[in-house]
Amino acid sequence: MKGSRLRAALTPYLLILPGGLWLAIFFVVPMIVMLSLSLQSGNIVDGFAFTWNWRNYLDGIANHHDQMIRSIGYGLAATVITIVVGFPVAYWIAFRGGRRKNMYLLLLLMPFLVSFVLRTISWQFFLADDGVLLGPLKRIGLLPEDFHILATGTAVVLGLAYNFLPFMVLPIYVALERIDPRILEAAADLYANRVQTFLRVVLPLSLPGVFAGVLMTFVPACSDYVNASILGGATNTMIGNVIQNQYLVTQDYPVAAALSFTLMAVLLIGIFAYARALGSEEVLEVTAR
């Protein structure tokens, strides 16, 4: 009896052990290694040594604050667009989708069966100066000959909003779907009109979904570099492009690690500020659902 009780107490630990170790070794440890690397000095040829080299951070920020600020700007813009575009969609499917709710959700997710990179490249085809969209418009004279959208910040923001839209729609949908229709009837019975019902009942109840959606769009959008490199051209690079380049081309690992941590810190500060402003205490609950 005692043995079986011990076994029952150990079971959960045995169950999480392999996966937990995997996450510890390949998620937690690398973060610590990167933190250490960000304080080292040296180069790829002679090797690196730990020297509490804070200059990596100072140099990284001094040389790349433009890209950092641009990343946050693009990330914010893309997040706002996904809310404006996605909220009505989530609202309509949740309240009026009826029996076809799942079909609509499937339609929203289906394009994501195609590789992220390939979809972004398709936008490149579509938006190219003489491509499928701009070519004909220019030929019939609706657009000036020198109009272009590729290699502009607009193209990058559009690409980001496109790629991360479902991460906004789905959490909002889940939050709206959970609203008990009787609450809406209660609001109507208390003489609230549709606008009042929306503003004072539906919107507050959907906020946890919006919250989760912002977390799931803002973080990947700010740290993305694929959209910027495929749609943005040389002048619209984001901090992700810098980090990628420093790691894989220049191989200046300490500065690259410092930049990665700076980006992470900025994102974390943003998330906490946002959480406080919203007064939400269920950050973990909502997103880890």
Partner: protein, 284 residues
């Protein structure tokens, strides 16, 4: 509105009078939102349509950005570019391995979190939450930092390791959700009927949580085959499908890429549709 509430809402006439003005507004607004939803869906499908279209483009040279005529040639020459085929096979192998390993590890975690209350479960959830919400570039950069520091040779296996790392939490969350809705009294009944704990798991628990395990594993497959950012950091000389496409953007995307994308999309749609019908029959 159920009968009880209708009764509570007072005389029927009153209720309809109150609802009517709102109704017409709702009809109009509902219609607008309906159109909006379809416009957004069209927007989402636009690059897919472009991709499918350019798989039929009769290109001359490597330039594939303008329409030059219809051809089926690229479907015939689908595997004509050797390293593209290798990249696709790499992606499929890595995704399969990821699906299997992350499927098993994630299922175990999901079971533990969904079924047991134990000290340390909060920490486990926190790490998983961090792994799910962490920016991919940070994960890729930190993995590369570690592999470089330890002089681990980069390639196929570092990609598999990394893919399992980022998808295991998604499997765990999916399985946990399923475990939590499973009725435990059925397991107790199995025990009462003399089943050992292993038999109970194999014959009762696992079949009941299987939809969650399958959904989680398929998610791991999808995440793995589509990943670019983390793979780009830890791939070394190994090339996967997304890496090959990205590398080809500088010199021009060959039409075969669009054909492969189209075929993958078609298979995905088929699975999704079958799954939708299967799910309906299963009554979930």
């Amino acid at each position: 509105m159920n009968t009880l509430e209708r009764a509570a809402a007072g005389p029927r006439k009153n209720a309809t009078r109150r609802r009517r003005p709102g109704r017409r507004g709702a009809f109009f607004r509902g219609r607008l939102l309906h159109i909006w939803t379809w416009l957004v869906i069209a927007w989402l499908f636009l690059p897919i349509a472009v991709m499918i279209l350019f798989g039929f483009n009769d290109t001359r040279g490597r330039y594939n950005q303008t329409w030059q005529g219809f051809t089926l040639r690229w479907y015939g020459e689908l595997f004509a570019i050797d390293d593209l085929t290798v990249a696709l096979v790499n992606s499929l192998l890595i995704a399969l391995l990821t699906m299997l390993i992350a499927g098993v590890l994630g299922t175990l975690i999901g079971l533990a979190l969904g079924r047991y209350r134990f000290r340390g479960s909060g920490l486990m959830k926190l790490v998983m939450f961090a792994a799910i919400s962490c920016a991919e570039i940070i994960m890729g950069a930190s993995l590369l930092s570690m592999f470089v520091t330890l002089a681990v040779p980069l390639g196929f296996w570092t990609i598999v390791i990394s893919h399992v790392m980022f998808s295991v939490s998604f499997v765990a969350v999916t399985v946990r959700a399923r475990v939590m809705v499973v009725d435990r009294s059925i397991e107790e009944a199995a025990r009462d009927l003399g089943a050992s704990s292993w038999e109970t798991f194999r014959l009762v628990t696992f079949p009941m949580i299987f939809p969650g395990v399958l959904a989680g594993s398929l998610l791991a497959f999808a995440l793995s085959i589509d990943d670019f950012v983390i793979t780009n950091f830890v791939s070394g000389g190994t090339v996967t499908f997304p890496l090959w496409i990205y590398g080809a953007t500088r010199v021009g995307i060959p039409p075969q890429v669009n054909v492969m994308g189209t075929l993958i999309f078609a298979v995905g749609v088929l699975i999704a549709v079958l799954n939708a019908f299967g799910g309906r029959r299963g009554g979930t």
